[in-house]
Amino acid sequence: MKKNIKWWYIALGVALLLALAAPLVSSSPDGLERVAEDSGFLEHARDALFNLIPDYTFPGVSNPALATIAAGLLGTLLMFGIGFGLARLLRKKNETQLHR
């Protein structure tokens, strides 16, 4: 049966492809930033307490497009792992008898 093909490999592949497109997108401020700028409260924003991968730009990668792609791929894989792991941890345990 086709159902045995891990469909979510394909879905994860699509998400990773989206991350590859990340350098091409609009760099205009988003809705909240726009409102903050127009209403004059943008300067209230405080810097982050610490920086790991700020602005979706992988530190130490000189090519900005590659830095964004690296950050995007890392984040996408990280989120897959966390989502999968969290759901696995929380799922009900006797499910195999109930739904096969």
Binding site: R34, R46, L49, L52
Partner: protein, 212 residues
């Protein structure tokens, strides 16, 4: 609409943290009762897709951009409490690892984009789908309306938090946030509806999973 630190005051941030934390606890309990083996990969893929798609800012009017939020997609496919869990995980990673959204403002961001957006989307979807007789087209229309409303109401909650914090007057920030997110919400509606329509075509069974 990720709020950075400094935009909302301590009382607002603290209250939002308390509400969001309670929502995450309830969401975890619901997940324990309802999550099955088949939900597991979908939740992983959903979190990954939402993170990646959120990076893709699309231009809206006047030198402004918006991006996909994803709460509506998660809530419509997996249920509102699953939406809360997935969005909380995404927002936590965005704040901790990518410095997108302040750490002190994380509770407010989860409240707006996780809790409010998921519940607004889910129940709007259910309501509109019922009104349209649960037809295929009706469900797609319901998906669009629910996604749009989720973004707009999340932005209004954000506006309210900014006003309560004394950052910007209510009469200015509410129409400003609502206006720009009414446009961004159209993008949300198009993306969410397209993904749901695609899934209905290729893996309709995934739309029938037990909602959490």
């Amino acid at each position: 609409m990720h709020i950075p630190d400094g935009f909302i005051n301590a009382a607002t941030a603290g209250t939002a943290y308390a509400v969001s934390a309670a929502a995450v606890v309830v969401a975890s309990k619901r997940a324990r009762q309802r999550l099955g083996e088949r939900h597991v990969p979908l939740i992983g893929v959903m979190a990954a897709f939402i993170f990646a798609a959120q990076m893709l800012n699309f231009p809206v009017a006047g030198g402004t951009s918006g991006h996909f939020l994803g709460a509506a997609l998660a809530a419509i496919l997996l249920g509102p409490w699953a939406g809360v869990l997935i969005m909380s995980a995404v927002l936590l990673v965005q704040s901790l690892v990518f410095q997108d959204g302040g750490l002190l403002a994380l509770g407010a961001n989860i409240l707006n984009m996780g809790v409010i957006a998921s519940f607004v989307a889910y129940y709007t979807f259910r309501g509109v789908a019922a009104l349209t007789g649960e037809s295929k087209r009706g469900r797609l229309a319901a998906t669009f309306v629910a996604s749009w409303l989720a973004v707009v109401l999340a932005s209004l909650a954000c506006a309210l938090e900014l006003a309560v914090s004394g950052t910007s007057p209510l009469r200015l920030v509410v129409p400003a946030m609502g206006g720009v997110h009414a446009l961004i919400g159209i993008g949300e509606g198009i993306i969410t509806t397209s993904v749901v329509a695609l899934l209905a075509g290729v893996r309709a069974d995934l739309l029938q999973l037990q909602k959490v």
